[in-house]
């Protein structure tokens, strides 16, 4: 049930439960709306009852407005939504079959199930015909396949094709829907010869819903696509204070010690360089999240789940510091940066002369430690000690759409 499950709001085990509850509500609403009555459904084609058009148009604009507003509020991530791909030929042929079937049979697939469940024989026959049709389609898929997958246009949007902005398109859609409500009601009144039909532009009961829909559409239109700041983000002054104090830095000796002593290793090393650089060399046990992917939901979630201290590293401190800044602003607390990056680490461990004439015991200890670390790293002790078993992680943002991604009603 996307996007609640991928976002972690709902446990994946409850998928079927939610499907059942939503199905229950959907069936109830369809039945209560009179959608189990084929005469009512077919009325849209004869002009005496346009409730189908009004219900589905209302559903479309409510869903569109809700989606955009929820996205603005950060409750839904638009990137996680599955967009049905467009196959032009199957849409054209399927649309014709559906339209003819709707007029002749008086049902669409969803409403036929509702009507069949309440015992309507015509609906049961309709469902049976539908099953036979599906069986024939499946049996002779190779024959239908050129039409089914013909003219693939990808996951396209109407507003992109029209060259409109998303929000303007939704505003126009709402205006068209409201106009359709007014016109269809007038047609209904005329066809049904209603004598006391209201004389105004629209039925008085429409005033409230019209105002709400238009208000929401205007709100979506005038709001930016997403706010510049989210409520959970950290204050810029706090970030500045931390950056000025250099509070984010982890130093070479700590990283070296923890790499060589896995029992004391409470760090998750995150390499923010490009994958090719990571492939050439990385610290044992490190993971790679390239800088430009850090804010992608899958990776962000991955970092939120760890109970270890996250240490970003790159060749220097620059890129890792930027990663730190981005995620600190997102509200992450347990993140640090390897001061000097890989270059600094290698300078300290391999390139520096560890002989010291200092009499300070701490400095002597550091020098001895780095000297020993150099030998340990050279002989691969860190790699042997750290579990480097690879278990590929597929994040939601990298998942491909399922091959049979066609839905309909």
């Amino acid at each position: 049930m996307g996007p609640l499950i991928p976002q972690g709001f709902v446990n994946a085990d409850l998928n079927l439960f939610f499907a059942f509850v939503i199905g229950l509500g959907f069936g109830y609403v369809l039945e209560q709306g009179g959608f189990s009555n084929s005469r009512k459904l077919a009325g849209v084609f004869y002009g005496y009852d346009f409730v189908v058009l009004r219900v589905f148009f209302t559903a479309a604009i409510t869903a569109a407005l809700g989606l955009l507003l929820f996205q603005y509020l950060g409750w839904i991530n638009h990137d996680l939504l599955y967009i049905n791909p467009t196959y032009l030929w199957s849409i054209v042929v399927g649309g014709v079959i559906m339209g003819v079937g709707f007029i002749l049979g008086g049902f669409c697939p969803g409403t036929s199930i509702v009507a069949a469940v309440i015992g309507k024989v015509d609906a049961m026959v309709f469902v049976l015909g539908m099953m036979i049709g599906i069986f024939i389609f499946g049996s002779f898929y190779e024959v239908f396949q050129p039409i089914y997958t013909g003219s693939f246009l990808g996951s396209i949007f109407v507003y992109d094709s029209l060259g409109l902005s998303r929000d303007l398109f939704v505003l126009i859609l709402v205006v068209v829907a409201l106009a359709a409500f007014i016109i269809t009601r007038k047609i209904e009144d005329k066809v049904n010869e209603i004598k006391d039909a209201p004389s105004g532009l629209f039925h008085p009961s429409y005033t409230g819903p019209f105002a709400l829909m238009l208000g929401m559409a205007l709100l979506v239109f005038f709001l930016p696509q997403s706010p510049n700041a989210r409520w959970y983000e950290q204050n810029p002054d706090t970030l500045l204070e931390k950056a000025a104090a250099g509070a984010q830095y982890a130093h070479t000796d700590e990283i070296a010690f923890k790499l060589l002593n896995p029992k004391n290793n409470d760090l998750l090393l995150v390499d923010v360089r490009e994958p090719a650089d990571f492939s050439n060399f990385s610290f044992p046990g490190a993971i790679n999240i390239p800088f430009e992917k850090l804010l992608q939901p899958g990776f962000e979630k991955l970092l939120k789940q760890t109970d270890k201290q996250i240490v970003f590293y790159s060749y220097g401190s620059t890129l890792a510091d930027q990663a730190w800044m981005l995620l600190s602003r997102e509200g992450f607390e347990n993140i640090r940066v390897l001061k000097g990056g890989l270059n600094g680490f290698f300078d300290a461990v391999f390139a520096a002369d560890h002989q010291t004439e200092s009499k300070n015991e701490m400095q002597q200890f550091d020098a001895r430690f780095l000297e020993n670390a150099r030998e340990a790293f050279k002989t691969g002790q860190a790699a042997q000690k750290v579990m480097t078993k690879k278990s590929p992680v597929t994040t939601i943002v990298e998942m491909e759409a399922p091959p049979a991604g066609k839905g309909g009603c």
Binding site: L80, N280, N288, S314, T318, F350, K390, S391, A404
Partner: protein, 203 residues
């Protein structure tokens, strides 16, 4: 009955919209003050728009275009005056003070220099997030600019910056990853990753 249902549904819808508006207001009140989203800042930095490489900087000097730029030093040294035609000195810790931001927003183009490249980039990140436009951070540091860039940039230093590899790492560091190609560079985390099976919807 129909009228009652109409009214009830309208009130429910109104309540729902009001709840959304209230949620928006609450979020707005709680949100810190940023003029650019985190993703927008990330995009600018990832697109290499922000880091000013030495040869690009040198080109501006050679073409006498420094008058179009305000160089802002965000480090701790006191005596840095006279290097550039338009120059400001703002301590890093005071970068987001109101008067500093106002002054920076009024500049046409800004080049930040610090004692460390990363400090200049952090400053650029913060300024971009506060809506300051056309901000770049000079690669390396003030010392490099003073001693190597301004007197005449050596060709080998043209692309120099802190995020360049300086060693052949795998030669020093015996590591599984250095000897074998990883099959999936992005992926190497403990189990428990997210698995989503997206499904098509319909009615």
């Amino acid at each position: 009955m129909e009228r009652f249902n109409d009214k009830m549904l309208t009130n429910a819808a109104l309540l729902f919209v009001m709840a959304i508006v209230v949620a928006m207001l609450v979020q707005w009140v709680l949100s810190p003050k940023y003029d650019a989203s985190n993703a927008a800042v990330q995009n600018s930095i990832a697109a290499d728009e922000v880091l000013l490489l030495p040869h690009q900087f040198r080109q501006l000097v050679d073409e006498n275009r420094m008058a179009d730029y305000t160089v802002v030093y965000v480090g701790e040294q006191q005596d840095v005056a006279g290097l550039f035609p338009n120059q400001l000195s703002i301590p890093f810790a005071e970068l987001l003070q109101k008067q500093q931001l106002r002054s920076l927003k009024s500049q046409k183009n800004i080049i930040l220099i610090a004692d460390e490249e990363t400090k200049a980039m952090l400053a650029a990140n913060l300024l971009l997030s506060q809506g300051v436009q056309h901000v770049q951070a000079a690669a390396r540091n003030l010392k490099f600019v003073q001693e190597e860039l301004l007197p005449g940039l050596a060709p080998k230093m043209a692309e120099s910056h802190e995020e360049k590899a300086r060693f052949d790492y795998s030669r020093f560091f015996s590591n599984e990853g250095s000897t074998t190609k990883k099959s999936n560079a992005n992926a190497a985390l403990p189990s428990g990753g997210i698995e989503v099976k997206a499904v098509a919807g319909g009615c």
